[in-house]
């Protein structure tokens, strides 16, 4: 795990002026997000936010527990089906729909986790990939997903019964709120006593056991939390686009979220957000160009791994400016 560990942020390494500047940056970012829908395309922004949350949820597992899941699409896409079905067929309000999506994803995470956490490293990646693939086939064949057609025309409904989410701005701020809650939850988990144990497990598993920690339970806990948060992103996305389709459960989606995280910076809080923004923009932009999208995605993957391993935020943190802001971390 050598290289993955190094880029993680350590709270102790920040200086107090750094902290102040970070705070200012944070406030600026927040302001940016609030005025963004007035200049950018709201649906696009919402999509970025959903994927950013998804990537952050994924990163909770990879960056802070050292487990590379190649099956996170199952939680993202699974939740999007659960939410879509609950909202469309049962007519539940949007907030309950998302909650059901989250619960569904967490449950799925629990089941997959029980198998997957028995192995580490590459094995873990392969096992999650295979399990997610099983779930994909389930979704493909199950009646309620409508196969290739997907669940279409999912109503957004009224938040808390009175906020009309069909208004793009209402929807945007709803998504933004969910996004912020999700990110805060991740930040909280990472910087919590529990997060500390996760980190120590990643560093030296045997030692953690010998200190009395039931390592597999912590891993399972982290896995389920990550799945639930990925589900939060998936459920929200369903409401944004008003459909749930097979694309979100296919393994290529698991690959995409890895790309986003890698691109932004594994083990940084804000990296995956940038990564997600970049990838989503790219997909949109390239759709209209003659250049095949997959080829470019693949190239970016390769380049990142070879020369850009810390990702955008990771490189920034490690740069001189980053150091001045107190972001540089122990190598």
């Amino acid at each position: 795990m050598r290289d993955m560990k190094t880029s993680s942020m350590t709270s102790t390494a920040t200086t107090s002026t750094g902290t102040r500047i970070q705070l200012i940056l944070l406030v600026l970012a927040l302001l940016g997000l609030i005025i963004a829908p007035f200049t950018f395309y709201p649906i696009f922004l919402m999509k970025v936010l959903c994927f950013a949350l998804f990537a952050c949820a994924f990163n909770l597992l990879l960056g802070y527990t050292g487990l590379l899941s190649f099956g996170h699409a199952a939680f993202f896409g699974g939740a999007s089906y659960f939410t879509a079905y609950a909202v469309k067929e049962w007519g539940v309000p949007p907030e309950i729909g998302i909650l059901l999506g989250v619960i569904g994803a967490a449950f799925l995470g629990l089941i997959m986790g029980i198998f997957a956490i028995r192995r580490q490293g590459i094995y873990f990646a392969m096992v999650t990939l295979a399990l997610a693939q099983m779930f994909y086939f389930f979704c493909l064949q199950a009646e309620f997903t409508h196969g290739e057609d997907g669940l279409q025309g999912v109503p957004r409904g009224h938040l808390l019964g009175f906020i009309d989410l069909n208004q793009p701005l209402n929807m945007y701020f709803f998504v933004l709120a969910i996004f912020l809650i999700g990110i805060f939850a991740i930040w909280r988990i990472v910087h919590s006593p529990f997060g500390m144990i996760l980190k120590s497990i990643r560093e030296n598993e045997d030692r953690a056991i010998s200190l009395g920690y039931s390592v597999s339970r912590y891993k399972l806990g982290a896995f389920v939390m990550s799945a639930a948060l990925a589900g939060l992103a998936g459920g929200t996305k369903t409401l944004v686009f008003q459909f749930a389709t097979l694309t979100d459960v296919a393994w290529q989606m698991s690959g995409e979220v890895i790309l986003m995280t890698l691109l932004g910076g594994i083990g940084t809080i804000f990296g995956p957000i940038f990564g997600a923004g970049f990838v989503v923009t790219l997909q949109n932009y390239l759709a209209a160009s003659a250049f095949p999208v997959t080829v470019l995605t693949g190239l970016i993957f390769m380049i990142c791994v070879l020369v850009f391993r810390r990702g955008i935020i990771g490189e920034f943190n490690a740069s001189r400016l980053g150091a001045r802001l107190g972001l540089r971390t122990k190598q």
């Binding site: 560990k5 190094t6 993680s8 350590t10 709270s11 102790t12 909280r188 988990i189 910087h191 919590s192 006593p193 529990f194 997060g195 500390m196 144990i197 980190k199 120590s200 560093e203 030296n204 045997d206 030692r207 953690a208 056991i209 010998s210 200190l211 009395g212 920690y213 039931s214 390592v215 912590y218 806990g221 939390m225 122990k330």
Partner: protein, 256 residues
């Protein structure tokens, strides 16, 4: 604490312990009693099965047969983490720290569990600050107070071992298993660690593997010699070191 009353109490015992690896029996017929407030050494030639015995006692390995009792409870089928929570904590032959945590954090991670601060994913890390005093106190006692904010990875090998012992101690274990705590340590640290162990053993049971016979002679109340997975001799240093079989199998003819 009525230490004297507890003096002879057996806290950890193994009966007819055996472990096979494929066709090879690494540990056979081992009976051990570890007493409260005593330092017990496990010595023997390389490959005798000492580390394996440690792994069995701490449940990192499952015995092929035999029973293990810790503080009166049968732990033969218990998980390693649970055993640790019951008060049996070990160190490793190859040093085991959390390299990218600071020295302070290393100790705090251990303190978290008894402090009930392990699973709280909804609370701020700052809640851990209340463990700092205790952690610093421990680090002082082993002479690591200057390195509190360094990453464990930056410590020299010997200091890492000291840190490992501090971490282990912070759990306030009832039984301490140390696998070659002095290996690779410079002379200056050996003395200090020996002192720490002696201090610790006043209120706890210690079982240690060590090849440094000077330390063993100096520190240990009781010695068990293993050879080829079986117990060759037992007793205090004088008994053991004069045993002809032990000299041939382990100590050599050199009067070290």
């Amino acid at each position: 604490m009525s230490q004297n009353a507890n003096e002879a109490r057996v806290v950890l015992s193994a009966r007819d312990l055996r472990r096979d690896f494929g066709g090879f029996t690494a540990v056979n017929n081992v009976n051990l009693d570890v007493h409260h407030a005593k330092v017990h050494a496990l010595i023997g030639p390389n490959g005798a099965g000492k580390t394996t015995v440690f792994n069995l006692l701490t449940k990192f390995l499952q015995p092929t047969s035999g029973t293990i009792t810790l503080l009166g409870q049968d732990i033969t089928k218990t998980s390693p983490a649970r055993v640790a929570r019951m008060g049996l904590v070990r160190s490793f032959q190859i040093s085991a720290v959390f390299p990218h945590l600071t020295v302070l954090e290393n100790v705090r991670v251990a303190l978290q569990r008894p402090g009930g601060l392990a699973v709280q994913f909804w609370r701020s890390m700052n809640t851990l600050d209340r463990l700092n005093d205790r952690a610093i106190e421990l680090l002082k006692s082993v002479g690591l107070e200057k390195d509190i904010d360094s990453y464990a990875a930056d410590l020299s090998y010997g200091r890492k071992r000291v840190l490992e012992i501090a971490t282990t101690l912070s759990l306030d274990p009832k039984v301490l298993l140390l696998d070659e705590p002095m290996a690779g340590m410079g002379q200056e640290d050996v003395g200090r660690v020996a002192e720490i162990i002696r201090e610790v053993a006043r209120t706890r049971a210690v079982l240690m593997v060590e090849h440094n016979l000077t330390v063993v002679a100096d520190l240990c109340d009781h010695i068990t010699v293993l050879q080829r997975g079986e117990i060759l001799a037992e007793g205090n240093y004088d008994t053991v070191s004069t045993d002809e079989r032990v000299r041939i199998a382990y100590m050599g003819t050199d009067d070290d």
